[in-house]
């Protein structure tokens, strides 16, 4: 393949993933509202289109038409930069997550991941560590005490849970012997999903993912009863929508990452034994990946409307005194696993 072909194929992949992400994000908001209504025995949005399926577009138009208010004491460049940064981090992380096996299209061998780099997982960790700045700067630049509190809480929470997140990922990396997401997925063939092999690491990663995406029960940075809206109190119109989009995009990233690291990625156990044609197997595997991500997204919504918010000190002691030691125990357990399977 020459450079032009590589660039065109990569651009097509980026376009497909970007479209899927945008559509999923807007419908995730709709499902959030419908599922919350279902949990609370209400109806939810059901007027725009059949059963309210056009609601996301109505929401976008409403947000576009709203006035963009910037507080007088705000630092204007930073106030604008923060939502852009949040969106940048949310959308560029997806580049390294594979959503299917290698396939052949028009004679080209195409791998279903935008960039198969050998630093894949570290790239994700690097970008998520930059994601803190979006919230911190949003909080600081607004010039309001509620925003500042939200921003400071967010940075403390995210760096605390990054520790146990990093240690849980280390277990997966040790067992797969690679940092490439594709290699990690391929290492989980058959029943050997990391969720089965390392249940403790799976749980610590799952909990950390909730904290990193600022979702309930860990949405302290935007706790309404105490902080009005937290870090986005002073945001309106499309800048607010930027944070909103970024939060839901982060949920998709977190779900896709959990699927890749712990739930076998696009692998469906023993599907290759059925002897189906290769294109059908690949299609079923891609569908399997999206089904797993979809289930985890539902899990995110389900937890949000079931479990109440933690208190701030509870959140911190859970992170440092429970999740962190558990992720260390998981590392020891992975060492035992490597002795059993690899030696």
């Amino acid at each position: 393949m020459n450079y032009l072909e590589i660039i065109v194929i990569t651009l097509v992949k980026i376009l497909i993933i970007f479209t899927i992400m945008m559509l999923t994000v807007s419908y995730l908001v709709y499902f959030e509202r419908r599922i919350s209504a279902w949990v609370q025995n209400r109806l939810g949005p059901n007027r725009v289109g059949w059963e309210g399926v056009l609601q996301p577009f109505a929401d976008v138009f409403k947000l576009l038409l709203k006035e963009d208010i910037v507080p007088l004491v705000a630092n204007k460049p930073l106030h604008t930069l923060a939502p852009i940064l949040a969106l940048f981090v949310a959308f560029s992380t997806y580049a390294v997550i594979p959503f299917g096996p290698d396939i052949t299209v028009f004679g080209y061998k195409v791998s279903l991941v935008v960039a198969d780099i050998n630093m894949g997982i570290l790239y994700v960790l690097a970008l998520t560590s930059l994601g803190v700045y979006a919230i911190t700067f949003a909080g600081w630049s607004s010039g309001s005490k509620y925003s500042l509190f939200g921003g400071v809480r967010a940075s403390a929470q995210m760096i605390s849970y990054e520790v146990s997140m990093g240690f849980s990922v280390a277990g997966v990396l040790l067992f797969a012997e690679s940092l490439r997401p594709v290699a990690i997925v391929e290492a989980q063939s058959g029943w050997m999903w990391n969720a089965v092999l390392q249940p403790i690491g799976f749980i610590t990663f799952l909990v950390s993912a909730f904290a990193e995406t600022n979702r309930l029960p860990f949405d302290l940075p935007e706790a309404e009863p105490e902080l009005v809206g937290g870090f986005h109190t002073e945001y309106s119109s499309m800048k607010f929508a930027g944070f909103f989009l970024a939060e839901y995009a982060n949920m998709i990233i977190a779900s896709a990452l959990i699927v890749t690291l712990y739930l076998g990625g696009w692998q469906i156990p023993y599907i290759e034994l059925l002897g189906l044609p290769s294109w059908l197997t690949a299609a079923i595997q891609v569908a399997g990946f999206f089904f797993k991500v979809g289930f985890l997204l539902f899990f995110f919504l389900w937890v949000r409307w079931t479990i109440p918010r933690f208190r701030y000190d509870q959140l911190m002691s859970l992170g440092w005194k429970v999740m962190f030691p558990l992720s260390l125990i998981n590392l020891v357990w992975v060492a035992v696993l490597i002795m059993i399977f690899k030696l």
Partner: protein, 171 residues
């Protein structure tokens, strides 16, 4: 090759301009923002040199972790309300010039006079594999095991020290 030069010049310009902005801004939060940008440009330059691991580590450790703590302290302490450090003691200004000059001479010495060591062949250093995690990990756990463990012990000691200090304050 041409593409590499263009990318290098762009990244180097970003790094140099943001470094100047870090020291000239009066607001410490804005300074911190430009320092993060500087670290990002530096990570890009590492990537151009095939040092992938160093590049990602630069982003995770410096831009991601250390700068968050910096920002945290700046936001909580609000140093823009403090008295200016230079106006309180003129001696500090002279000292700053002296230290700056020493560092500048060091940099000139490193860039223009020191040659890269002869022991490493340029082909090995420039290959795309030179900066991967596998290579760095193997080297750390074989050739550089002693400095590596020593650094580990130093970090452990620092962590315990910080814990003791924090505990005293709360008792």
């Amino acid at each position: 090759m041409l593409l590499e030069v263009i990318i290098f010049i762009t990244l180097a310009l970003i790094a140099a301009v943001s470094a100047i902005l870090v020291v000239t801004r009066s607001n410490p939060v804005i300074s911190a923002l430009f320092l993060i940008l500087n670290f990002g440009a530096l990570a890009g330059i590492y990537l151009l040199l095939n040092a992938q691991f160093i590049a990602v580590a630069q982003v995770i450790v410096y831009a991601g972790a250390i700068m968050v703590l910096f920002l945290f302290v700046i936001m909580l302490l609000r140093p823009e309300n403090e008295k200016k450090i230079f106006s309180s003691n003129p001696l500090i200004k002279t000292l700053a010039f002296v230290i700056g000059g020493v560092v500048f001479i060091q940099l000139i010495y490193l860039i223009f006079i020191v040659r890269p060591s002869e022991s490493q062949s340029p082909e090995v250093a420039q290959s795309i594999q030179a900066g991967t995690v596998e290579k760095i990990g193997t080297l750390l756990f074989t050739e550089y095991i002693l400095p590596f463990e020593a650094a580990g012990f130093l970090l452990l000691a620092a962590t315990i020290g910080a814990l003791v200090l924090a505990k005293k304050k709360f008792e």
